[in-house]
Subunit: 357 residues, 5 copies
């Protein structure tokens, strides 16, 4: 379940290798340049097209979808002065979300949570570079783009996103990534709520396995949410001056979201633990109940069967007067059945008093 | 069980949307203006009526019951300079209690605990703004108003509430919210105390489910109480000068209440954990006891039934002298029954020695 | 079990109400005035008698037993300038132990642990005010006085207690309260030690309930001991100059006691957890053992009884040559019993190999 | 198991009482005076002999074995200016290891771990005073002396111990005490390693009790090791100048040892928890297995026995043509036995499919 | 499982003893001297050959494989001024990873994780000294050398390793050690993933033991990874100037790796705990299921067998008209079998309603 990429122990640091699954896909690069008044947006085919944006004073947002082109990444790194260790982390997907301040740019790794085609929880690495006048975002997978709503907000030109600088854009991107936790948590919350009565009514193996799956999902969410909170917190306490005071107010809001997400995750974990407890106790109770039925039936009929067995013995009554004289008694059978009834009723009273029936 | 509202990932921050359930209700606004000598109190129908209170030096307490009117909230925000992110949190109910200092006002979210109509634990969000000369409190639900006791204290004009400023009023409001934990905890405490002997005497599935419900309630209370403590603590350590030293003495008292509430919640949680343990061990013990009864009865009668079975076999005694000669013996039956008695008594002694009966 | 008093949510802070149980008892007030050379001790009937002690330079220790007289407390508060919030905490018994520095006095709440008449663990609130030249101690219950040993030490006039100031007296009072944990812990420790072999030999339901009671007692002790440690620690780090350096050496000793008490409590909690584990495993093992006996007896006799049953069938041998010809065989019975013996011995060997008998 | 001495609540602090068990033994006092060149070593019978060592500039190490002589301790305290509270802790054995800086000397309590005559884990309190030019060590028990290796190193005159001052001697003593944890931990480690296969193969009650004993031993070790680490740490961060920089390098080594000891203890605790889990699961599995055998045998033979029972009924065939005509059928018996075989085989296949046999 | 070496309590610190297993092996010493332009590499037979490297300004990396030669280590210590306590830790293998700054050199202990010949997890101690112009690495075992990839990178002369100083080399060595965690964790991760369905389908004792083994492996990994993280962190925050700012960027990367490793370990531990829970619940469920089968079969046939037993009794019908008149009734048998069928069907319906079949 846990994906993590690593190089052979001893490999030089900052060794760049395209992850296996990503090789066949050609990355798509888009450039959005904007300030409060102007906006240009286009697809980029070669890095030389980017020369312009390094120079002007607009915010240049370069988005790369897919990790398939090593040369492109190297060229990008050279052009914008990105640290090789940061580029290594872009390619070694499965990183923990983290924030790393380099001399001339910030580097942020975030993990976006989503349900994949088979309905399993998956995470996609989103790497973000924030430098002077530029923001570079690199997404692990090419086909899906989580930043569309942000793009639309830029195009619409309303709100702070156009008047803000690159730091506000980074906030907007992070916020989009963080808010993806909410629908997943809502879904899990609903499932867990249904789980409770399901387990109480009918604690099947399948129910337990589902519960176990939710626990693992929550574990996975926590692994992602916890360091993401740290990322936002680090940005919030940045003292390099990369993050403006105005943006920090918004980052505080994003931080609040991560705190709420962690709180929800922990609460759901506590609830699932309670459900595991309930499952075990219900199974235990059921075994108890089954045993009670078995015991009551056995305890009643086993002695009666023994009595019947005794009078089914074939000792010859004519061999002596002590040989089963009851068999010859005119009311032998009636007395015998009566005794059986008495025993049965006695036991029923006994078990009722014990509270077993 | 956990309510939390969120916008689609990627939505612009500070997007204001009235929560679905709240749309149909028109909010009720009341204004109380007071200082040590004077007091005016009235319902407000339009925000233009508030112009006055922005200017004078009295404490203006504007209370809004219900979130149904978006325009009103926007106008309120504009008039008093409330931050849009704070207004968003007012509308996205289900927030964790929190304290946020903005440039010209404080923003506080608290959650009030109460039992709803069906007896379930519920929480209502109370949002409070504290600015220079004004306090705005916004309650999630229109029909219930938890601030009546505070209003009466203001009207009575006794005590510090009239001589104090807005910060004292905020303390009084928070204190009223926090103290709602006590009756709920008292009730849970009593229920848990009864639970103990109930579980010890008769550990039914229903008892366990009740126990489970209390655990969940305590979880919910803790989720609310913990951050509420942080809110009070933040106010207590405010260094902006919004909170006077005199009010801080009272906030320390409120802080003590939150600490005591947390302590009670944690203690009840420990006790319920002990009860779960007791439930499981009692069920386990009962199963053991049931098994013991079954085993003793089976162990005694199964061998006896076998012996009876043997002498119920139909081997023809006349076919050979070794064919069940016992059947023909004059004391066969007596000896046989005697042997059975001996076995039974022997087993009873054995089980008594083992401590099983 | 947990006592806590609270006012209706919304009640004004510092509202003084005598707790219900305490109303009927008239408090007893005693005054001890002393310095290194002189000592006067007397009962006080009216507060006007205290005028003198406010003025002189001796240490005045006013002890109040019982909370029944609201006017008295209010007068006391006025005379010595005690904060109304502190007085509220004196009356709202069941407070967590706490230390609160007010402008002109310290306020300390401690909880004394003792066994009540029925042998249950109970706690009595002791409130202490330390001001310039005066110490006021207020005990929840009138009939019992835990400060007698301190009084005797003052009367004897030996040791530091007479040369020390009010801060040393407060230390002596706190130390007396704290040391009450020791006999209770010793008792619990001995009971737990006996518990171990009791549970190992014979894990009854009663044993478990006793264990559960000890766990709850330890929980209660921890609730009291933990904040009491904080109280001593706060005094130890006082920087207002109320506590002299000399007294701090002794407070450090008291602090050590609280640390040792916490350590003992935590260790006993760990041990009781181990005993719960042992109980569950022993019950589980016993169920296993019982099942083994049942299974061995059933497994041996059920097949034999079946064989006996077969030869008890009444197929008419004369109806055909294949109808139970064994019954007519001269050694049929012997062979049959022999086969039964073989099966029984075989099974015994099988179970012995499995280690079940 | 936990020894702790305490005075009656309310007793004056620094009350000195010889512990009961120690009264009969006369303490043995030895004095070693040394510097880099000279060394004298002798037994002391009266404290007046110590006058000399207070004055000269050598390191004077006074070792007291046994706590039996209260006057001696008081005299020692007076001569060297030892604080009465420290002397109280020397006598109230069972203290947590601790470090207390007094004005003119340091006071250290350490606990030495050893196996007593019956093989149980025991601890002996070692109290150490470090002053200017003197070190006083006081051991709880007279007959055993753990400082012999240190004495030999001093006599040999090699290494830093002779050139070092009192602080280095204190380090050497503490190091000797701390290193006593290692052989005990090694022993427990080996026992736990054997435990694993023992529990897996044959989870008996005795095995569980042994496991439980190891857990308690580890609990006891942790209680001692944790504060001992704090003691060394406090010495390491001493800023009074009592501890030289050179000695601190060695104390850091001792600190490392305590860290390693804590790490071993925690790891063993984790392992024993895993073994408890394994024990419970193995017992649970065994019960399951036993039940399976019982169920298979019962399920096969109970229906067969019923069939045999049916044809053992005595309905008179001559009373009507529907009265057990099977009994008269020439192949009745064969068909009946055949049907029984079919049922048995069918059930065997069913259980094999379920994986129960 | 846990290896730790210790001297007899009381032994002088810095006592050097070659560990038993290492005595027979002669250590192999290699020297690599390099700067950005030049590189020499050779095997060293005597320490006098090292004189040169102490003087020049190149980086001298001395690698020692094996601990067998005590004199060599002492000479090395003398030549490079290594602290005796550090040398003691080199020989007392089984140390926790640690960082110790001495006056003129840093000392680092790391533990390399690998699978030994039998497939068990093992760790080898790697001790590293970093001084001015020299790095000394000492490996516990002679035959295996984990630093080959680093050596190759130096020989290739590319990258920072040749332009960097000794601090970068230490980083490279540590990085190589740390990255050995990854393949081990990957392997465990895969095994645990398979475990899940294995436990769910067929919870055997072996499966549990495997699970238990993984838990112990993770415990061992955590013991090593946690302090290794601290080592890197200490280097990262070095303020002595031994570590250049450039190297710190790389150490931050190594630190990230340790954080990720800890995160993986903790996550796997959580998952294995969940699997233990699943194992126990599955076994519990299986016992329940087995009991259900037993109970249903017993409950159905035991009463029927009793009825058959009753009509197998031999009361003489001719002894009285109340003696088993049913036997003479022409439809007695049919009615009896019919009643049996009714009872069986009734019970089947009852159990189906209970959800047991």
């Amino acid at each position: 379940m846990l994906k993590f990429k690593y190089h052979q122990p001893g490999t030089a640091p900052a060794t760049l290798v395209v992850p296996e699954g990503a090789r066949s896909v050609t990355p798509v690069i888009t450039l959005i340049e904007y300030d409060a008044e102007t906006l240009t947006e286009r697809k980029i085919s070669g890095l030389e097209e980017l020369t312009d944006c390094v120079q002007n004073q607009k915010v240049s947002w370069i988005n790369v979808d897919g990790l398939g082109d090593l040369d492109l990444l190297k060229a990008l790194g050279k052009k914008f002065g990105l640290h090789p260790l940061a580029l290594e982390d872009v390619l070694n997907t499965g990183q923990r979300p983290k924030f790393e301040p380099y001399d001339n740019h910030f580097f942020i790794v975030a993990q976006m949570i989503y349900r994949d085609a088979t309905g399993r929880l998956a995470n996609e690495q989103v790497s973000i570079f924030l430098g002077k006048n530029f923001v570079i975002s690199i997404q692990e997978e090419a086909e899906k783009d989580v930043f569309d709503p942000v793009r639309i907000r830029i195009r619409n030109g309303k709100g702070l996103i156009r008047t803000g600088k690159g730091d506000y854009l980074v906030y907007a991107l992070l916020d989009a990534v963080i808010d993806h936790f909410y629908p997943v948590l809502e879904e899990i919350g609903e499932a867990i709520d249904q789980m409770e009565s399901r387990i109480f009514e009918n604690p099947t193996k399948t129910a337990f396995r589902d519960l176990h799956d939710y626990k693992r999902s929550l574990l996975q969410l926590r692994r992602m949410a916890w360091p993401e909170r740290e990322v936002v917190n680090s940005l919030l306490h940045d003292e390099n001056g990369m993050i403006t005071k105005q943006t920090k107010v918004f980052l505080r809001d994003a931080y609040d979201h991560t705190v709420q997400i962690m709180d929800l995750i922990e609460t759901y974990r506590d609830i699932t633990s309670g459900l595991v407890e309930m499952y075990l106790s219900t199974v235990s109770m059921r075994t108890n109940e089954i045993m009670r039925v078995l015991t009551v039936i056995s305890a009643i009929f086993i002695p009666l069967t023994f009595i019947a067995g005794v009078y089914g013995m074939n000792f010859h009554t004519e061999a002596g007067r002590w040989n089963m004289p009851e068999l010859l008694h005119p009311y032998g059978y009636v007395i015998c059945v009566g005794a059986m009834l008495l025993i049965a009723v006695g036991e029923l009273i006994f078990f009722r008093r014990k509270g077993w029936i």
